[in-house]
């Protein structure tokens, strides 16, 4: 799941929780699902390492990538 999808999921959980038709038990399940998701987002962002690559087009449409990551 991308960060964008995860954030959208968080927003949709909020909508479901706000909905009157969602029962208490279902709410608890949603709530816990959301908390897990939120902590996944957090650790994904906190553990991310920037990747930098130089793209070299060796011939038209053929690419080779050369890492410029800091070592």
């Amino acid at each position: 799941m991308t960060i964008e999808e995860a954030l959208e999921k968080l927003e949709s959980i909020t909508q479901e929780l706000e909905s009157e038709t969602t029962g208490l038990d279902a709410s608890i399940i949603l709530f816990e699902e959301g908390l897990t998701l939120a902590s996944t987002i957090k650790s994904q962002l906190e553990e991310a390492r920037l990747k930098v690559e130089q793209v070299i087009e060796t011939s038209q449409g053929v690419f080779s990538l050369e890492s410029l990551d800091l070592t």
């Binding site: 960060i3 954030l7 706000e18 990747k51 793209v55 038209q60």
Partner: protein, 415 residues
């Protein structure tokens, strides 16, 4: 040496005034060419600087009154200029200086004019129309960079992304960013990024730019071929050319102009802290929402309890209430598997209470009897006084009766 009587002895003031008059009348207005250095702007609005060439220099000033009308281009340190003005002496200090009334950057004037003409032409063609602008993605993950592999821009972009949005992957399409080859190389890099995005990995965003430099250095980003290549590029694009004050035609054709490369990186993506905080706020909102729902549920249950005329044993009610409190507390702390079980129990407790409604048996044809005025239902017949008044509750309504006879327990048929 002796001073002759005929010789005039000047005071310093006289000498300086005479020098000034001589200079002013001899030269009148002159044009000079030189480089600006030691530029200082006084709070009065006057600008002091030195004009120099390789071998010599002269102090110069541009008074404030001249500043706004005659010199549309702000002068900068290191700028090569043609200046018109008069030579004079600042008498109190005996300083010989040039008072500029017109300053015009050399070369830049022609370059600027060409860029202006091109701007009008491309504008008329509609290249800069708002209709062509596309929204930038909120969370770009694959970001192309068109800039010099050795430049300050790459270093700045990289360090800002490292700090704020390290989840991104940066793809550098290297190009020189100044000099005669730069426009062609920039076009090639932009087109390469397009092909890469289409055939290899789709790019969410492209940042095109370079760090600060002279007007000539930045001119590649106003080159017609570069502007057209950017116009043709379907990837959402941010331009970041030079410093805040610099503008290039690339800025007009891209979807967003950033004042500097660092700013481009900040405009491109949110910071991870913002996202983590946002997720935290959302979760906090849920906790409040759930705590509120539990309170409502608790109120319902309390209402249910109050509804009974006959109370359940106090201990049972307290247990149910405590379970509620614990559940609410746990919700507030954001837990867990166990919580769900407890909530289940609380709901179950409510069901038990409902099932143990003392009036329920009445619906099945049983009745309850009380000594009139008492609240505890009668269980034993033996000790009741003859002729006492009784109240019997049926499914609907009550009956008041009087005791006429009491039978011992053994005579009652067991169910």
């Amino acid at each position: 040496m002796q001073i002759g009587k005929a010789e005039h002895v000047y005071s310093i003031s006289e000498l300086n005034r005479a020098s000034r008059e001589t200079l002013e009348s001899t030269f009148g207005d002159v044009w000079v060419r030189g480089e600006i250095s030691e530029l200082t702007r006084a709070s009065s609005g006057h600008v002091y600087f030195t004009l120099k060439d390789d071998d010599a220099e002269i102090s110069a000033v541009r008074f404030r009154s001249r500043t706004s009308i005659l010199t549309p281009t702000p002068i900068k340190q290191g700028m090569l200029v043609l200046a018109m003005g008069r030579l004079t002496v600042y008498e109190p200090r005996g300083r010989y200086q040039f008072v500029a009334s017109l300053i015009q950057p050399v070369g830049e004037g022609a370059l600027q004019a060409a860029i202006e003409r091109l701007k009008v032409k491309l504008q008329d063609e509609g290249l800069f129309d708002a209709a062509h602008k596309q929204p930038l993605p909120r969370f770009p993950l694959r970001i192309g960079l068109v800039t010099s592999p050795a430049g300050a821009a790459l270093r700045d972009l990289r360090s800002v992304f490292e700090r704020r949005w390290p989840i991104a992957e940066l793809f550098l399409f290297g190009s020189s960013v100044q000099g005669a080859a730069a426009p062609d190389e920039l076009v090639a890099a932009i087109e390469s990024a397009r092909r890469f995005s289409r055939q290899a990995e789709p790019l969410d965003l492209l940042i095109v730019g370079r760090g600060g430099g002279s007007a000539e250095d930045l001119a590649s980003f106003s080159d017609e071929r570069v502007v057209r290549a950017l116009f043709e590029c379907p990837i959402p694009t941010i331009s970041a050319v030079g410093h805040e004050v610099d503008f290039a035609l690339a800025d007009f054709v891209t979807d967003l102009r950033a004042p500097t490369p660092s700013a481009a990186a900040e405009l491109a993506a949110p910071s991870r802290e913002e996202i983590v905080q946002q997720a935290g706020r959302i979760a906090q909102g849920w906790k409040q929402m759930l705590a509120k729902r539990l309170e409502t549920r608790e109120a319902e249950l309390t209402g249910l309890l109050r509804g009974y005329v006959l109370r359940l044993p106090v201990r049972q009610i307290e247990t149910a209430a405590q379970r509620f409190d614990a559940a609410v507390e746990r919700i507030a702390r954001g837990l867990s598997e166990k919580l769900r079980i407890r909530i289940g129990r609380v709901d179950h407790a409510a069901d038990i209470l409902r099932l143990s409604d003392p009036y329920r048996p009445l619906q099945r044809g049983y009745s309850m009897t009380f000594l009139k005025g008492e609240t505890e239902p009668l269980r034993e017949a033996e000790s009741l006084p003859i002729s006492a008044e009784l109240e019997t509750r049926l499914q609907t309504g009550r009956v008041i009766s009087r005791i006429t006879e009491i039978s011992p327990a053994s005579e009652v048929i067991e169910e």
